[in-house]
Symmetry: C2
Subunit: 571 residues, 2 copies
Amino acid sequence: MPDRDRNFFLYVNMDKCEIEISKPPEKYSSLGGRALISSFILDNVDPICSPLGRFNKLIIAPGLLSHSSIPCTGRLSIGAKSPLTGTIKESNVGGTASKDICRLGYRAIVIEGRPESDKLYVLVITPDNVKLVEKPELKGKGNYETVKILKDEFGKRVSVLSIGPAGEMGMAAAGIAVTNIEGMPSRFAGRGGLGAVMGSKGIKAIVIDPKNLQLPKPVNSEKYKELLKDYVSRFKENPVTSTVLPTYGTANIVSITQELGAIPTRNFSEGRFEAADLINGYALKRLTDERGGKTGHPCYPGCIIKCSNIYNDPNGGYLTSGLEYETIVLLGSNCGIGDLDTIAKLDRLCDDYGIDTIETGAAVGVAMEAGVLNFGDGEGTIDLVHQIGRGTTLGRILGQGAGVTGKVFNVYRTPVVKNQSLAAYDPRALKGGGVTYATTPMGADHTNGNGLGGNSDPLRPEGQIEYSRYFQIAAAYIDSLGLCWFTRGPLLGNLELLAEISNSYLGLNLTKDSFEMLGKQVISTEKEFNQRAGFNSSHDRLPEFFKLEPLKPHNVVFDVPDEELDNVHNW
Amino acid sequence: MPDRDRNFFLYVNMDKCEIEISKPPEKYSSLGGRALISSFILDNVDPICSPLGRFNKLIIAPGLLSHSSIPCTGRLSIGAKSPLTGTIKESNVGGTASKDICRLGYRAIVIEGRPESDKLYVLVITPDNVKLVEKPELKGKGNYETVKILKDEFGKRVSVLSIGPAGEMGMAAAGIAVTNIEGMPSRFAGRGGLGAVMGSKGIKAIVIDPKNLQLPKPVNSEKYKELLKDYVSRFKENPVTSTVLPTYGTANIVSITQELGAIPTRNFSEGRFEAADLINGYALKRLTDERGGKTGHPCYPGCIIKCSNIYNDPNGGYLTSGLEYETIVLLGSNCGIGDLDTIAKLDRLCDDYGIDTIETGAAVGVAMEAGVLNFGDGEGTIDLVHQIGRGTTLGRILGQGAGVTGKVFNVYRTPVVKNQSLAAYDPRALKGGGVTYATTPMGADHTNGNGLGGNSDPLRPEGQIEYSRYFQIAAAYIDSLGLCWFTRGPLLGNLELLAEISNSYLGLNLTKDSFEMLGKQVISTEKEFNQRAGFNSSHDRLPEFFKLEPLKPHNVVFDVPDEELDNVHNW
């Protein structure tokens, strides 16, 4: 068992169902989250291994600052070679697990190998014991039921990481659910098919029970307390983190992208959605308030922004939580669906079956374009998501994501980069985000810089490279620290404060310049893995149709030159 | 219209339905077949274009020697950026078209652009006219009916290239059918999804009618006549080309690979098939003779080997023709099917729907492994092929080939390289062929060196690189000359004769060293395209399972080191 110096790796070898706890190589001990994952994967995973074979490794790593009580540092990174993209992958998630893993003293959990049999295991981690428990009765169960069964057995207090049937079936859209503060499996490491990697290793769930272990105290409590006031005040002074996000959640972005003409609509064929008013932040807030749901809900303990929510059905019963902008757009406007209740049902189903709402919405949009069902067909979409969960033939196609769906149904307008679907920002009208989609080592991923908030005109190609570079670097260190992406407003202009508060708590030696260095290092590491895995600059491109088909209402195409895309990571 | 100096390109621009006939750039005028295609595609096709979009080009080019009457020079090359592999692709086919295109004086037909509408066209080429004719009534028709309708309209004499519904539906397993000497659409440019490229351009068929135009006469008739005797005698002296192939066809290989333990059986899980005797060359010969079919049938005019066949049903009626070894194995032993009549029916259906028998058999094998149907279920396999032709949801998966099928159904043992299925030689027991599968620029392709016939022990890794290199180079020039792959026995040891006879007929300046140079140049050109399209050495690998799972009966894995694979094309 780890002692309390908080620097252990927990290795779970599924070839033999063996568990080992050991000190990691020195180089990993100052890393966390995405940085730790990138470095570990580059060092330890064969870049051309089969993503669902025994040579891939699933790494679960809290951010570097998750090992503290600094507010907004509760994000968890999960990574592997992705079965969706073939690239290195880090997917980032809230919920209670990150801090609980830290309480237990683990820097990372590494799951490797692959069992010969198709037995299904739950990994149970407590301060006294780490064990693999066979749980055949969980086979095929949704995340909600799985978590209920496990909480009944292991106690309400535990954090659970789990996969639904999609992960068991090896679907490339399968994510890993993490329980939120209420114990609901509604926070998701959704992107890149990491649920399928977990499933390939025969792990249905990970139960994390720190019992009464606590996070360490600050190294310099006085200093920390002093800095904390300043830190918190930055969040309160920022209107986005103090007002907009806690009031409306990320759904507030609907009105922004609608205004910009950048909201993906009917499979990325238009940039404005006629029913945007029915699915935006105001609509969400109104329905939530009416039905006794909640906005201003934290997605992990210690969050002081609280942009998450609990969404109730018309009768006031719990329907889903963590209903985010990306879900609302990809399963909403992108499918021509302008009804929040339908979208919320879809979100619940995706959470339960264990699939990424972004990839699923994009896949359904492509299927709609192929004529599998009509745009706007909410009930048909609900049926399709059930089909994914049941693993019907059609469901298995959709469960492989938008790229495979586009291939199977011969859809030219398939919005993927490196086979991962774009998120809820059309790159023709938010060109900085387009640069990010094209070039980030993760496949199209809005969390690396979505194109909102830069100084340049989002409709024009000028300045977008610089914009994307800045945010890709920021995302890389934010995801390495365990910070949430929305801390960028309060913190990116106050990196000295961030360095000082981190140092005061954890005894680090960060300076304001450390972060950019770290971010660059992470991206370089990831690109090195990708290069070995068979990627080069030709993969750093948007699908052809974005360059050819003008997007209404601004009639713009994506016109950032290829040569500029190739310069994003030249620093 | 071209004059008779036989050096024109026919450009068909489907953006505007425009036709242009012009002299090609000088650099192409000494090239033919695969060499011409490789060079043209590298120069003219955006390597990251969408394969089924308007920027891809389909090139149809007779071999360099097809413009002569030298025996065994009637093969036709068809190429594009492949929708299956994403690489450059040349697929090679017999039938009557190659010589007819030469009679008309065309070095190549280039089809580019993509119509805005979904209209369906037939391209009709005669000495007096080239035109695009709208033929909506052919939509969804199989190759057999398509060819019948076109021959009724344009005459029995014409050659037809056509696609079935699979090509219209953009399936990556779709090939292009070429009529054989009897006018049956049973010769196939099967590999790489070129039928889908033709379909994406709105071209259902190409009717080639040279009327009374003839091939040119030899430049030096006396010399040619003299050399011709020697040339023909080489074929007669070689037991494979003089006896084995005309008697048993390529089906003779069944007994060889069975003996070697290298015959793909039940989705590449075993190397011997218990029912091999029922599907080998002797069985084929016996059934063919009994039913009034034919072996010793030429696949194109001017062939003096005649390894093709006509296969009749039990009542003596025509069932299919050109029933080849690869088809017999991939749709036979690889699916656990040990019945030639079932395999022949499957071959006919694949020809009619317009799909590659190799890719289809591999995809069905993967589906069987996934439990979609049982190994050995012949009727079930027939149903699946009908589903491909009808474009059912399951059919569309299979129609995308083994790679997509393996992804959708989460099958680890998916036998593809660069997403193209391996052919009928297990690379663990024929390691030279394994090297070729891994490294050829075309994705797994047996026609570039299948591992049979080398001097080294096929079960051991030593010497396989040299073997594969030799045959990859040979394949590249053979496919550029319009020669058939089986001419390698008589000709590879007599390259001086090949040079002289070519010079005497066509006034070329070849020497015995020209061929190897040409072959290397072709492969280098193709690799350059692939590199620009996003491929590097990490893609030159067999699937992981070939290195991990020993193949019965010899219990061998594929163990040629990666570093050696990376040296195959270093010359």
